[in-house]
Symmetry: C2
Protein backbone atom coordinates (compact mmCIF):
# COMPACT_ATOMS: atom_id res chain seq x y z
CA UNK A 1 0.00 0.00 0.00
CA UNK A 2 1.47 3.31 -1.07
CA UNK A 3 2.05 6.16 1.34
CA UNK A 4 -0.67 8.11 -0.43
CA UNK A 5 -3.20 5.33 0.07
CA UNK A 6 -2.30 5.06 3.71
CA UNK A 7 -2.72 8.81 4.06
CA UNK A 8 -6.04 8.68 2.20
CA UNK A 9 -7.33 6.07 4.62
CA UNK A 10 -6.44 8.22 7.61
CA UNK A 11 -8.03 11.27 6.00
CA UNK A 12 -11.21 9.29 5.40
CA UNK A 13 -11.31 8.37 9.07
CA UNK A 14 -10.96 12.03 9.95
CA UNK A 15 -13.73 13.03 7.56
CA UNK A 16 -16.06 10.44 9.07
CA UNK A 17 -15.38 11.86 12.49
CA UNK A 18 -15.36 15.59 11.80
CA UNK A 19 -17.24 16.14 8.57
CA UNK A 20 -16.18 18.31 5.69
CA UNK A 21 -17.93 21.64 6.26
CA UNK A 22 -15.31 23.11 8.58
CA UNK A 23 -12.41 21.04 7.42
CA UNK A 24 -8.99 22.53 8.05
CA UNK A 25 -5.78 21.04 6.74
CA UNK A 26 -3.55 21.46 9.77
CA UNK A 27 -5.68 19.63 12.34
CA UNK A 28 -6.38 16.94 9.78
CA UNK A 29 -2.67 16.59 9.08
CA UNK A 30 -1.88 16.39 12.78
CA UNK A 31 -4.44 13.61 13.24
CA UNK A 32 -2.99 11.76 10.29
CA UNK A 33 0.56 12.11 11.60
CA UNK A 34 1.77 14.35 8.83
CA UNK A 35 1.77 18.01 7.81
CA UNK A 36 -0.45 20.23 5.70
CA UNK A 37 2.54 20.48 3.42
CA UNK A 38 2.32 16.76 2.63
CA UNK A 39 -1.44 16.75 2.13
CA UNK A 40 -1.10 19.37 -0.58
CA UNK A 41 1.85 17.49 -2.01
CA UNK A 42 -0.09 14.24 -2.37
CA UNK A 43 -3.49 15.58 -3.37
CA UNK A 44 -2.63 18.82 -5.15
CA UNK A 45 -4.97 20.99 -3.15
CA UNK A 46 -7.64 20.89 -0.49
CA UNK A 47 -10.20 20.47 -3.24
CA UNK A 48 -8.29 17.48 -4.60
CA UNK A 49 -8.11 15.96 -1.16
CA UNK A 50 -11.84 16.28 -0.64
CA UNK A 51 -12.50 14.78 -4.05
CA UNK A 52 -10.22 11.83 -3.32
CA UNK A 53 -11.80 11.16 0.05
CA UNK A 54 -15.35 11.44 -1.24
CA UNK A 55 -14.51 9.05 -4.07
CA UNK A 56 -13.38 6.65 -1.39
CA UNK A 57 -16.63 7.13 0.50
CA UNK A 58 -18.67 6.43 -2.60
CA UNK A 59 -16.62 3.35 -3.43
CA UNK A 60 -17.06 1.88 0.02
CA UNK A 61 -20.78 2.53 0.06
CA UNK A 62 -21.30 1.10 -3.38
CA UNK A 63 -19.44 -2.07 -2.45
CA UNK A 64 -21.64 -2.37 0.62
CA UNK A 65 -24.82 -2.12 -1.43
CA UNK A 66 -23.50 -4.40 -4.14
CA UNK A 67 -25.07 -7.58 -2.70
CA UNK A 68 -28.44 -5.84 -2.50
CA UNK A 69 -28.11 -4.78 -6.11
CA UNK A 70 -27.03 -8.08 -7.60
CA UNK A 71 -29.65 -10.10 -5.77
CA UNK A 72 -32.40 -7.60 -6.42
CA UNK A 73 -34.23 -9.75 -8.97
CA UNK A 74 -34.44 -12.70 -6.57
CA UNK A 75 -36.08 -10.78 -3.74
CA UNK A 76 -39.26 -9.02 -2.91
CA UNK A 77 -39.20 -5.20 -2.80
CA UNK A 78 -39.87 -5.24 0.92
CA UNK A 79 -36.83 -7.37 1.60
CA UNK A 80 -34.64 -5.05 -0.42
CA UNK A 81 -35.87 -2.01 1.44
CA UNK A 82 -35.25 -3.71 4.74
CA UNK A 83 -31.78 -4.59 3.53
CA UNK A 84 -31.17 -0.95 2.76
CA UNK A 85 -32.43 0.07 6.14
CA UNK A 86 -30.18 -2.44 7.91
CA UNK A 87 -27.08 -1.14 6.17
CA UNK A 88 -28.04 2.48 6.55
CA UNK A 89 -28.63 2.23 10.28
CA UNK A 90 -25.71 -0.01 11.17
CA UNK A 91 -23.25 1.58 13.52
CA UNK A 92 -20.48 1.07 10.97
CA UNK A 93 -22.14 3.15 8.31
CA UNK A 94 -23.61 5.86 10.46
CA UNK A 95 -20.69 8.26 9.88
CA UNK A 96 -20.79 7.58 6.17
CA UNK A 97 -24.44 8.56 5.97
CA UNK A 98 -23.81 11.63 8.07
CA UNK A 99 -21.12 12.62 5.61
CA UNK A 100 -23.36 12.02 2.59
CA UNK A 101 -26.12 14.14 4.04
CA UNK A 102 -23.65 16.85 4.90
CA UNK A 103 -22.35 17.04 1.36
CA UNK A 104 -25.87 17.02 0.00
CA UNK A 105 -26.86 19.98 2.15
CA UNK A 106 -23.67 21.88 1.44
CA UNK A 107 -24.38 21.39 -2.26
CA UNK A 108 -27.72 23.14 -1.78
CA UNK A 109 -26.01 26.30 -0.59
CA UNK A 110 -22.82 26.02 -2.61
CA UNK A 111 -23.53 24.04 -5.78
CA UNK A 112 -20.39 25.11 -7.59
CA UNK A 113 -18.19 23.49 -4.98
CA UNK A 114 -20.05 20.38 -3.92
CA UNK A 115 -22.55 19.41 -6.57
CA UNK A 116 -20.11 17.12 -8.35
CA UNK A 117 -20.10 14.82 -5.34
CA UNK A 118 -23.82 14.32 -5.74
CA UNK A 119 -23.82 13.12 -9.32
CA UNK A 120 -24.27 9.49 -8.41
CA UNK A 121 -25.87 9.64 -5.02
CA UNK A 122 -29.52 10.31 -5.73
CA UNK A 123 -29.73 9.02 -9.30
CA UNK A 124 -27.95 5.75 -8.55
CA UNK A 125 -30.16 4.88 -5.64
CA UNK A 126 -33.26 5.83 -7.53
CA UNK A 127 -32.24 3.57 -10.43
CA UNK A 128 -31.59 0.71 -8.10
CA UNK A 129 -34.96 0.99 -6.42
CA UNK A 130 -36.73 1.24 -9.76
CA UNK A 131 -35.26 -2.11 -10.78
CA UNK A 132 -36.67 -3.68 -7.65
CA UNK A 133 -40.21 -2.41 -8.24
CA UNK A 134 -42.88 -3.59 -10.70
CA UNK A 135 -42.40 -2.03 -14.11
CA UNK A 136 -45.75 -0.28 -14.29
CA UNK A 137 -46.38 3.34 -15.08
CA UNK A 138 -46.08 4.40 -11.45
CA UNK A 139 -42.59 2.89 -11.23
CA UNK A 140 -40.61 6.15 -11.12
CA UNK A 141 -42.90 7.88 -8.65
CA UNK A 142 -43.09 4.86 -6.38
CA UNK A 143 -39.30 4.66 -6.36
CA UNK A 144 -39.17 8.34 -5.42
CA UNK A 145 -41.47 7.65 -2.50
CA UNK A 146 -39.47 4.67 -1.26
CA UNK A 147 -36.21 6.58 -1.45
CA UNK A 148 -37.78 9.50 0.37
CA UNK A 149 -39.02 7.22 3.14
CA UNK A 150 -35.55 5.77 3.68
CA UNK A 151 -33.95 9.23 3.43
CA UNK A 152 -36.39 10.88 5.81
CA UNK A 153 -36.24 8.10 8.35
CA UNK A 154 -32.46 7.96 8.15
CA UNK A 155 -32.29 11.66 8.84
CA UNK A 156 -34.63 11.27 11.79
CA UNK A 157 -32.59 8.33 13.05
CA UNK A 158 -29.33 10.26 12.76
CA UNK A 159 -30.82 13.25 14.55
CA UNK A 160 -32.57 11.45 17.40
CA UNK A 161 -30.79 8.11 17.58
CA UNK A 162 -34.19 6.46 18.02
CA UNK A 163 -33.78 3.23 16.07
CA UNK A 164 -36.86 1.50 17.42
CA UNK A 165 -39.39 4.12 16.37
CA UNK A 166 -37.87 4.68 12.94
CA UNK A 167 -37.62 0.97 12.25
CA UNK A 168 -41.29 0.51 13.15
CA UNK A 169 -42.11 3.30 10.73
CA UNK A 170 -40.36 1.38 7.96
CA UNK A 171 -42.40 -1.69 8.88
CA UNK A 172 -45.63 0.26 8.66
CA UNK A 173 -44.66 1.60 5.28
CA UNK A 174 -43.97 -1.91 3.98
CA UNK A 175 -47.33 -3.02 5.33
CA UNK A 176 -49.01 -0.19 3.43
CA UNK A 177 -47.22 -1.31 0.28
CA UNK A 178 -48.44 -4.88 0.67
CA UNK A 179 -52.05 -3.87 1.28
CA UNK A 180 -52.00 -1.73 -1.81
CA UNK A 181 -52.01 -4.70 -4.23
Amino acid sequence: MSARDELLRKCLDYFLKHGVANLSLRPLAAAAGTSARMLIHHFGSKEGLIAAVMDQVRARLQSSFEPLITDASKRKPGEIMLGFWKVVTSRKYRPYLRLLFEVQILALQNPRRYQRYLIDTSATWLRLIRRALPRDKSNAVMATLCLAVVDGLTLEYLATGNLSRTSKAIDIFLTLLRKQK
Copy 2:
Protein backbone atom coordinates in the same frame (compact mmCIF):
# COMPACT_ATOMS: atom_id res chain seq x y z
CA MET B 1 -38.65 49.80 13.67
CA SER B 2 -35.33 49.99 15.50
CA ALA B 3 -32.03 49.99 13.68
CA ARG B 4 -31.32 46.59 15.15
CA ASP B 5 -34.52 45.13 13.77
CA GLU B 6 -33.79 46.57 10.37
CA LEU B 7 -30.33 45.04 10.52
CA LEU B 8 -31.74 41.73 11.66
CA ARG B 9 -34.06 41.64 8.67
CA LYS B 10 -31.18 42.22 6.28
CA CYS B 11 -29.10 39.55 7.99
CA LEU B 12 -31.96 37.10 7.66
CA ASP B 13 -32.11 37.80 3.94
CA TYR B 14 -28.40 37.12 3.71
CA PHE B 15 -28.73 33.87 5.66
CA LEU B 16 -31.49 32.70 3.35
CA LYS B 17 -29.27 33.36 0.37
CA HIS B 18 -25.91 32.13 1.62
CA GLY B 19 -26.57 29.74 4.46
CA VAL B 20 -24.83 29.67 7.80
CA ALA B 21 -22.07 27.09 7.42
CA ASN B 22 -19.48 29.41 5.89
CA LEU B 23 -20.85 32.63 7.28
CA SER B 24 -18.38 35.48 7.54
CA LEU B 25 -19.13 38.79 9.18
CA ARG B 26 -17.51 41.16 6.74
CA PRO B 27 -19.30 40.06 3.55
CA LEU B 28 -22.55 39.87 5.48
CA ALA B 29 -21.99 43.39 6.82
CA ALA B 30 -21.22 44.70 3.35
CA ALA B 31 -24.44 43.18 2.00
CA ALA B 32 -26.38 44.74 4.87
CA GLY B 33 -24.78 48.14 4.30
CA THR B 34 -22.91 48.22 7.59
CA SER B 35 -19.69 46.97 9.11
CA ALA B 36 -18.63 43.90 11.06
CA ARG B 37 -18.02 46.33 13.86
CA MET B 38 -21.73 47.17 14.05
CA LEU B 39 -22.88 43.55 13.82
CA ILE B 40 -20.85 42.73 16.90
CA HIS B 41 -22.09 45.88 18.57
CA HIS B 42 -25.75 45.00 18.06
CA PHE B 43 -25.65 41.24 18.59
CA GLY B 44 -22.73 40.80 20.97
CA SER B 45 -20.93 38.20 18.92
CA LYS B 46 -21.24 36.09 15.81
CA GLU B 47 -22.91 33.42 17.92
CA GLY B 48 -25.45 35.93 19.16
CA LEU B 49 -26.14 37.07 15.64
CA ILE B 50 -26.77 33.51 14.45
CA ALA B 51 -29.06 32.88 17.40
CA ALA B 52 -31.06 36.06 16.70
CA VAL B 53 -31.44 35.23 13.03
CA MET B 54 -32.43 31.63 13.64
CA ASP B 55 -35.03 32.76 16.16
CA GLN B 56 -36.43 34.94 13.42
CA VAL B 57 -36.50 31.99 11.04
CA ARG B 58 -38.33 29.85 13.53
CA ALA B 59 -40.86 32.60 14.26
CA ARG B 60 -41.65 33.14 10.60
CA LEU B 61 -42.05 29.44 9.94
CA GLN B 62 -44.26 28.89 12.95
CA SER B 63 -46.52 31.73 11.91
CA SER B 64 -46.78 30.19 8.48
CA PHE B 65 -47.82 26.82 9.84
CA GLU B 66 -50.17 28.35 12.37
CA PRO B 67 -53.29 28.04 10.17
CA LEU B 68 -52.53 24.39 9.54
CA ILE B 69 -52.17 23.82 13.26
CA THR B 70 -55.30 25.61 14.44
CA ASP B 71 -57.52 24.06 11.81
CA ALA B 72 -56.09 20.59 12.24
CA SER B 73 -59.14 19.18 13.98
CA LYS B 74 -61.46 20.25 11.17
CA ARG B 75 -59.55 18.54 8.38
CA LYS B 76 -58.62 15.12 7.17
CA PRO B 77 -55.03 13.99 7.69
CA GLY B 78 -54.47 13.94 3.93
CA GLU B 79 -55.47 17.58 3.60
CA ILE B 80 -53.11 18.59 6.35
CA MET B 81 -50.20 16.77 4.74
CA LEU B 82 -50.96 18.39 1.43
CA GLY B 83 -51.07 21.74 3.18
CA PHE B 84 -47.66 21.07 4.62
CA TRP B 85 -46.36 20.09 1.23
CA LYS B 86 -47.73 23.24 -0.38
CA VAL B 87 -46.01 25.49 2.13
CA VAL B 88 -42.79 23.54 2.12
CA THR B 89 -42.42 23.62 -1.65
CA SER B 90 -43.53 27.19 -2.24
CA ARG B 91 -40.88 29.37 -3.76
CA LYS B 92 -41.13 31.73 -0.83
CA TYR B 93 -40.18 29.12 1.76
CA ARG B 94 -37.59 27.25 -0.23
CA PRO B 95 -34.65 29.16 1.30
CA TYR B 96 -36.10 28.71 4.78
CA LEU B 97 -36.22 24.96 4.37
CA ARG B 98 -32.74 24.92 2.93
CA LEU B 99 -31.56 26.77 6.01
CA LEU B 100 -33.37 24.42 8.38
CA PHE B 101 -31.85 21.37 6.75
CA GLU B 102 -28.45 22.99 6.83
CA VAL B 103 -28.64 23.62 10.55
CA GLN B 104 -29.92 20.11 11.18
CA ILE B 105 -26.97 18.59 9.33
CA LEU B 106 -24.46 20.90 10.96
CA ALA B 107 -25.85 19.82 14.30
CA LEU B 108 -25.04 16.22 13.44
CA GLN B 109 -21.36 17.03 13.11
CA ASN B 110 -21.16 19.82 15.65
CA PRO B 111 -23.86 19.33 18.30
CA ARG B 112 -22.34 21.70 20.80
CA ARG B 113 -22.69 24.64 18.46
CA TYR B 114 -25.92 24.01 16.59
CA GLN B 115 -28.10 21.61 18.52
CA ARG B 116 -29.85 24.37 20.40
CA TYR B 117 -31.39 25.57 17.14
CA LEU B 118 -33.03 22.17 16.69
CA ILE B 119 -34.97 22.10 19.93
CA ASP B 120 -38.33 22.69 18.36
CA THR B 121 -37.90 21.58 14.81
CA SER B 122 -38.42 17.84 14.86
CA ALA B 123 -40.41 17.49 18.07
CA THR B 124 -42.87 20.27 17.26
CA TRP B 125 -43.69 18.93 13.84
CA LEU B 126 -44.04 15.43 15.16
CA ARG B 127 -46.45 16.62 17.83
CA LEU B 128 -48.51 18.49 15.26
CA ILE B 129 -48.81 15.48 12.98
CA ARG B 130 -49.75 13.23 15.86
CA ARG B 131 -52.69 15.48 16.66
CA ALA B 132 -53.93 15.12 13.10
CA LEU B 133 -53.81 11.31 13.13
CA PRO B 134 -56.17 8.79 14.74
CA ARG B 135 -55.29 8.24 18.39
CA ASP B 136 -54.61 4.55 18.12
CA LYS B 137 -51.55 2.70 19.32
CA SER B 138 -49.69 3.23 16.03
CA ASN B 139 -50.12 6.99 16.32
CA ALA B 140 -46.50 7.87 17.13
CA VAL B 141 -44.99 5.57 14.55
CA MET B 142 -47.39 6.68 11.85
CA ALA B 143 -46.53 10.31 12.58
CA THR B 144 -42.87 9.43 12.28
CA LEU B 145 -43.53 7.93 8.87
CA CYS B 146 -45.52 10.92 7.63
CA LEU B 147 -42.88 13.36 8.77
CA ALA B 148 -40.18 11.27 7.13
CA VAL B 149 -42.09 11.23 3.85
CA VAL B 150 -42.38 15.01 3.83
CA ASP B 151 -38.75 15.39 4.93
CA GLY B 152 -37.37 12.97 2.38
CA LEU B 153 -39.43 14.36 -0.47
CA THR B 154 -38.56 17.92 0.49
CA LEU B 155 -34.89 17.06 0.42
CA GLU B 156 -35.30 15.42 -2.96
CA TYR B 157 -37.21 18.43 -4.22
CA LEU B 158 -34.59 20.87 -2.97
CA ALA B 159 -31.81 18.82 -4.54
CA THR B 160 -33.38 18.16 -7.93
CA GLY B 161 -36.01 20.88 -8.25
CA ASN B 162 -38.40 18.27 -9.65
CA LEU B 163 -41.70 19.34 -8.15
CA SER B 164 -43.90 17.20 -10.36
CA ARG B 165 -42.35 13.85 -9.48
CA THR B 166 -42.09 14.57 -5.76
CA SER B 167 -45.67 15.86 -5.61
CA LYS B 168 -46.91 12.71 -7.31
CA ALA B 169 -45.01 10.70 -4.72
CA ILE B 170 -46.93 12.51 -1.97
CA ASP B 171 -50.17 11.68 -3.75
CA ILE B 172 -49.27 8.01 -3.93
CA PHE B 173 -48.46 7.97 -0.24
CA LEU B 174 -51.82 9.53 0.60
CA THR B 175 -53.51 6.92 -1.58
CA LEU B 176 -51.72 4.18 0.34
CA LEU B 177 -52.93 5.73 3.60
CA ARG B 178 -56.54 5.76 2.43
CA LYS B 179 -56.47 2.15 1.23
CA GLN B 180 -55.09 1.04 4.58
CA LYS B 181 -58.34 1.58 6.42
